[in-house]
């Protein structure tokens, strides 16, 4: 079995993927290619049998596991009863946590809103293990409403969560009490206490980092800092992994051995303590991997069995995957195992480096290279400063910050006086570093946008990397060809949009608001009409949430990046309403914007003015436009029909920029929030105006899309961009009936999520993200 468990891990990987992934045929056929190759490599038919056997077994296991992941609740349930399963998260007036149902392995995500500040205290007492009976409105979690977007429903499903319960404190019944917990719940309570202790004792600047490094809890990090960590490629330092587990177990080992316990007993002791540490540290996949591997090493040491590192990691992989097959699709799991595996397999390469510093450089570079395909696949961007930043920051974290945080955690319990000096010192170091990261991040951070690659690209990249490493290991000069191929494949993904002949018009689902992306073929131009924006109503301070909804940051920018868009030629702000420009802050910050078009009317209010100034600061050129202006790229023409030269609309909405676009002889009319009066003007002034696709004005409000306008334009399709279950009840039934009477096909983002019109070869194809 020596060195062979690696083969089982490969087989299990395919088995689980085949059971859980929608691309079953592809996976099974590639499984046979890989199995065939591996058994040919080992010149053994028995290997093939073993691989198939393990693959089938894990397939069945994952399939059964998935079948059992179902719900006992239904939408008619009003009250649920269960046990609080994790540390409740407080944000402003909202508390969310998981409630574990009794008798069935299912959890419900509870999201409670508090209407009075006094009631918050009750929620702060809530602890893992508490028995609760909660009433509220139950609903299925929302699935992804945009293309290439994060699927929250699936994310919860993989954690055995099928429902969310909305509870409003004071209006709905709720009762909680402490209950006799198992050792597991008391561990979770310890973790809670530990995090609370950090909140109370650590200086603010340190809290987030300390909670992440000690307890694997990232939610206390500031949103900006966290985003910088993510985009700059140093987020892995916040994940507790081999480094932390190594330090902890090494320290404990020395401590126990020094205090006179025999090595065998110390091993046994650590085998008991490390799983406890894993749970206290939040039990993320990286912690579990590191702890499992350490436990295997200790077990083998204790019983004097030789263990190859490659077997250690393969067994840890198998154990974790059998414990929870969904982990296979977890980014952290994938990265943690891929990088650790690569480091283990590269032992011979590292041996070639004579000096420590060279070894460290090699390790850093290898980790970057091997994680590159996965990072691009999941996040669509890659920071070019990631490597140098890691080379500097990894030693700082592992040699200074991590040990100091550990020591301070215990020191502060003994003496606050002594600790305060060190707190001061560390706080300044961390504040400096975080300031530096956010500065880098705000100034671009050399972030290259690659777009979402295909699975084939990821596989090709890994094959190239493996070939390159084989050649590098053998010190063959031909490694230079493999490296060139790696670079070429990366560049191919980067320039891929420039060879893409599709024309796409996407109505992005930004909730209540507008955001329309137009991509001309071969990246000749990219236009963004509005960027959504969530209108917030005035709140008390205590209600203010840290995580504000921002469709620009959360939806528009990620979607653009998934398409490999780095430069937007024109951003058109149809008018000065927040639900049209609010999301554009993020767009102007994270994208290179050419020109920003705004109607030539009096800028209405300081908020819009601030936005326009911000956009200009970020490098966008401002252009105030009116009727009669136009531009074209090849055969694609764009005419501005509204507002008039004088901008005499009655309301802000009625001064919306209206664009008549002609693409492949299909005419599009983008109307912003234009209302009846403006529509009348267009009918009057443009007697021959026609539109094949009409963006219904003002989210389908009654004040727009009048019968006369529809009859005049004779559209075949209309798109209404409105939020799901929005508070204005858009679109209005009159608008729907106006369109239906004129026999217009209606697309609605509130029902269908994002809607994408794709022109390829000879015709248009419409894609809807959500099926009704």
């Amino acid at each position: 079995m020596r060195g062979q468990s690696f083969l089982w891990a490969v087989a299990a990987c395919f088995g689980v993927a085949a059971a859980l992934s929608p691309h079953q045929g592809l996976i099974i056929s590639s499984a046979f290619i890989v199995f065939g190759y591996l058994s040919f490599k080992n010149r053994s038919f028995f290997t093939l049998l073993t691989l198939v056997f393990v693959g089938v077994c894990t397939f069945i296991w994952a399939y059964v596991y998935d079948e059992q992941n179902d719900t006992v609740l239904s939408e008619h349930v009003h009250t649920i009863q269960g046990r609080v399963d994790n540390v409740p998260e407080l944000d402003g007036d909202r508390i969310s946590f998981f409630l574990q149902l009794p008798e069935h392995n299912e959890r419900v995500q509870v999201s409670a809103r508090v209407t009075e500040e006094d009631a918050l205290a009750a929620f702060q007492q809530l602890n893992p293990g508490h028995e609760c009976t909660i009433a509220g409105e139950i609903s299925t979690p929302s699935s992804a409403r945009n293309f290439n977007a994060f699927d929250y429903q699936n994310y919860l499903y993989e954690q055995g969560v099928h429902w969310t319960l909305q509870h409003v404190h004071g209006e709905d019944e709720m009762s909680c009490r402490e209950a006799d917990g198992t050792w597991l719940t008391s561990l979770k309570q310890w973790r809670h206490t530990g995090i609370r202790y950090i909140e109370d004792v650590f200086p603010p600047e340190l809290q987030g980092l300390a909670a992440a490094l000690l307890f694997g809890e990232r939610s206390h990090m500031e949103a900006d800092t966290l985003e910088a960590y993510q985009d700059l490629g140093i987020i892995h330092l916040l994940a507790i992994s081999g480094l932390h587990v190594g330090i902890v177990s090494g320290f404990l080992f020395l401590l126990f051995v020094r205090s006179g316990i025999s090595r065998e007993r110390v091993c046994e002791l650590l085998l008991l303590l490390l799983p406890v540490y894993a749970l206290l540290a939040g039990a993320a996949p990286s912690v579990l991997r590191a702890v499992l591997m350490t436990c295997f090493v200790l077990l083998c040491f204790r019983f004097r069995i030789q263990l190859q590192p490659i077997d250690g990691i393969s067994l840890a992989f198998l154990v974790l995957l059998m414990h929870d097959p969904y982990l296979l699709f977890h980014v952290g799991f994938q990265l943690s195992f891929t990088i650790s595996f690569a480091l283990i397999a590269s032992a011979a390469i590292f041996r070639q480096a004579k000096r420590r510093i060279h070894q460290f450089m090699l390790v850093s570079m290898l980790a970057q290279v091997i994680s590159f395909p996965l990072i691009v696949y999941h996040f669509h961007t890659y920071s070019l400063v990631s490597l140098p930043l890691n080379i500097i920051y990894v030693p700082i974290v592992s040699l200074i910050i991590l040990p100091m945080v550990w020591i301070l955690f215990f020191l502060s319990m003994l003496t606050t006086f002594l600790a305060s000096f060190w707190f001061f010192l560390l706080e300044n170091i961390v504040a400096f570093l975080h300031g530096f990261f956010t500065f880098l991040h705000q100034n671009g951070g050399m972030i290259a946008v690659f777009g979402r690659p295909s699975g084939v690209w990821v596989i090709a990249m890994f094959v190239i990397i493996i070939v390159a490493l084989i050649l590098f290991e053998k010190r063959r000069k031909t490694v230079i060809f493999a490296i060139s191929l790696f670079v070429a494949t990366a560049i191919f993904q980067y320039v891929q949009p420039y060879v893409d002949g599709q024309l796409r018009v996407t109505f992005i689902d930004v909730g209540q608001g507008d955001s329309i992306l137009i991509e001309l073929p071969y990246r000749q131009a990219v236009y963004l009409i509005d960027g959504g924006g969530t209108v917030m109503f005035p709140r008390e301070d205590w209600q203010e949430r840290e995580q504000q909804p921002d469709p620009g940051r959360q939806t528009v920018v990620p979607y653009l990046q998934s398409l490999g868009i780095r430069h937007v030629d024109k951003v058109i702000v149809t008018h000065g309403d927040y639900d049209h420009y609010g999301g554009l802050f993020a767009v102007t910050e994270q994208m290179d914007v050419g020109t920003l078009l705004y109607p030539r009317v009096e800028v209405d209010g300081p908020a819009v003015e601030a936005f326009l100034l911000h956009a200009r600061e970020q490098g966008a050129e401002l252009a105030f436009v009116h009727e009669g202006m136009h531009w074209s790229v090849g055969a694609y023409t764009f005419q501005i029909l509204h507002p008039t030269r004088h901008g005499d609309g009655q309301t802000d909405n009625d001064d919306s920029i209206v664009i008549d676009a002609n693409m492949y002889d299909t005419r599009w009319l983008f109307t912003g929030d234009l209302e009846a009066e403006g529509e009348q003007r267009l009918v009057r002034e443009y007697p021959h105006l026609r539109a094949d696709v009409l963006k219904a004005g003002h989210h389908g409000s009654q004040t727009s899309t009048t019968q006369a306008f529809v009859e005049h334009l004779e559209p075949t399709a209309a798109v209404i961009s409105a939020g799901k279950d929005n508070r204005y009840n858009h679109p209005h039934p009159d608008v729907i009936s106006n369109l239906e009477e004129a026999d217009v096909h209606i697309y609605r983002t509130d029902l269908q999520g994002a809607i994408r019109f794709v022109y390829q070869d000879t015709g248009w194809k419409v894609e809807r993200k959500v099926s009704e």
């Binding site: 060195g3 490599k41 053994s44 283990i344 397999a345 590269s346 011979a348 493996i466 084989i470 290991e473």
Partner: protein, 232 residues
Amino acid sequence: MRHDRCLQCLSPLNTNAGWEALFSWKKPMLCDECQEKLRPLTAPWCVHCSRPLPVTESCGDCERWAKTKNWSGLLTRNVSLFLYDEHLQEVLSAYKYRGDVELAKMFADSLKQTYRKYFKKSIPVPIPLSEERLQERGFNQAAALAEYLPVAYKPLLMRRVDEAKQSKRSRHGRLRGHVRPFAVREDVKSLTGQHILLIDDIYTTGTTLRKAAIPLLHHGAGQVSALTVARS
């Protein structure tokens, strides 16, 4: 799973899980330790006989061959794979005298690569053994090596008279030995202009190879080179 041991020292192979061991279709024949004991010959060396030199040039011995009447121009070049040190001597004696034919496999990859690199399109011809020696040894060590070349070898040569064992004679003795021990087999047609590649296990002075080249050149071969495993 079978055959997962080092050809030479028989220790398990899977313990060194490097990238090649994990992913390459090539099956390593030797464990890392045994592989490292082999010392491949590379430049700087003698361009004619692969002897390690401080700079790449022609070594003194080869100069002497070139200047000697009757001996010059017989062998275009010899390429040897490994340095004939104590370790390789041990391996080759196990191979030749103790009959461990399988050991030839450990040279297979290098033989193939070297053939492709230096001797493309040449015809491999193993140095033959006399009937008596073949009876005694059971196999021809040169032919067993030639088996691993990318093209089939041709047994063009035969040994006329048995010589005393080479390894038991001094350099002087070897040079003065029987002048024409080899002959082209009778059924061989003319070798007009062909490139012949002699295969043998060791290159010591190069006398044997040169003697083998004489009848081949007489028979019309364009040039004769040699590929040998060890260079002493």
